[in-house]
């Protein structure tokens, strides 16, 4: 009862409504100690990744331009960018998340070899760019060209899968706040990612987290950046619409 009251309070603070379902940030499910650590820059190690990303952002490749040469005024150019990803790339019609957009920029505009998903560099850059939108509300486009991707993500979220025959929704919709071993089941909002997980001893992407979910229900683990996870990421982002970006967050 007390937990329900506490959760209710938190939901009232940072609640987002998606299809009548109230969504709260993953931070609401942390212990007070971990939450305190997350909010204290002298204690949250994820800021090292932000710092590294900032350094990469202004580093000039041997040939070509540094990110910062085009995106000079961050306040104008990239603040808020992360709230709109994943989004459909107009030119190719593909769904791109923030990692995908940074890689596309690197390959097509900077003419550099791709970093690779989950590489230290791409994680650092993604964490840095997402951190520029800290506190801004998630606001992805889910209609128009994005609609088929959103619908696919929703279907993925609701479909039973794996040897445990569980859908994402059964836990992250129906059993939120309950315990799974030492963990508390959250709504599955990805608004803190890339995040520092104690489990990882470092920062990882949302897709790394999703791969752990797939493993947890003994289902197929898709590759980093796979269309299945991209669509799911869009659905989760749409569902978490209105919640502030918390990157770099800490999670269990």
């Amino acid at each position: 009862m007390r937990l329900k009251l506490a959760l209710g309070f938190l939901m009232a603070m940072v609640g987002a409504v998606a299809g009548g379902e109230e969504i709260t940030s993953g931070s609401a499910f942390l212990s007070p100690e971990l939450r305190h650590q997350q909010d204290d820059p002298t204690r949250n190690p994820a800021w090292f990744w932000v710092e590294q990303g900032q350094e990469l952002f202004s580093r000039k490749p041997e040939a070509g331009q540094a990110c910062s040469q085009c995106h000079a005024e961050l306040e104008k150019s990239l603040r808020g960018a992360a709230t709109r990803y994943p989004q459909v790339d107009a030119a190719s019609g593909r769904l791109l998340n923030l990692e995908g957009r940074i890689e596309q920029c690197r390959v097509q505009r900077q003419k550099q070899p791709a970093f690779g998903y989950e590489s230290g560099e791409l994680l650092a850059l993604t964490t840095y760019v997402a951190s520029l939108s800290r506190g801004l509300a998630m606001d992805v486009e889910t209609s128009g060209p994005a609609q088929p991707f959103y619908e696919a993500g929703k279907a993925f979220f609701e479909r039973r899968q794996g040897q445990l025959n569980l859908s994402c929704k059964q836990c992250h919709g129906g059993l939120v706040g309950q315990k799974l071993r030492g963990d508390t089941i959250s709504h599955g909002a990805g608004t803190g990612y890339p995040a520092y997980r104690l489990e990882w001893n470092g920062v990882g992407s949302l897709h790394r987290r999703l791969r752990a979910c797939s493993l947890g229900v003994r289902a197929t683990q898709f590759d980093y950046g796979a269309p299945e996870y991209l669509a799911l990421e869009l659905y989760l982002a749409g569902r978490a619409g209105g919640l502030p970006i918390e990157t770099p967050a800490m999670r269990r």
Binding site: S31, R197, L198, R211, A212
Partner: protein, 164 residues
């Protein structure tokens, strides 16, 4: 500042040869066949671990506080804070504070060396706990005595383990 460290806490040796592994496996099988009490006897008990640090002296309880959560969500990073009541003067100060985890693969976790210029005997760090166990802090005083405090910590099992 010399430090008697458990042989268990030495840096890892170079990779064993194939012969070592074969011989070691034999020993391992032999151990596995022993009753569990005999196996337990091969690991030093906590009082012995403490005596190793205090040159045999039995530390007093009190005047030292070990703050560590009784219930830990993830053993990979556990906040620990140790405060010793001490004037921290030239004549009377804490020389060091040592942390032991009796069930970690390596029992010694950390040793803080302090002195009169510390001002206060108040330190903190983040620890790695392999499993639920007793965590012990031992402080050595410049006046010759030792203080200790211990806390039983439960490390919960995570459901959301990472498979890459």
């Amino acid at each position: 500042m010399s430090l008697p460290i458990s042989p268990l806490s030495r840096p890892s040796e170079p990779a064993p040869s194939r012969r070592d592994i074969v011989v070691g496996t034999g020993v391992g099988l032999g151990l596995a066949a022993l009753p569990s009490s005999a196996l337990a006897a091969t690991l030093p008990a906590l009082p012995e671990l403490i005596a190793r640090l205090t040159e045999g002296a039995v530390p007093e309880r009190g005047r030292i506080t070990l703050e560590i959560p009784a219930l830990v969500e993830n053993g990979n990073s556990v906040d620990a804070r140790i405060v010793v009541e001490s004037p921290m003067t030239e004549a009377d100060h804490v020389r060091w504070i040592h942390l032991i985890a009796e069930k970690n693969p390596f029992l010694d976790m950390a040793r803080f060396h302090l002195g009169p210029r510390s001002g206060r005997a108040e330190v903190a760090t983040t620890l790695r706990l392999a499993t639920s166990q007793k965590v012990t802090a031992v402080a050595a005083l410049s006046t010759g005595g030792y203080l200790m405090s211990d806390v039983d910590v439960v490390v919960t099992l995570s459901a959301c383990i990472d498979g890459g």
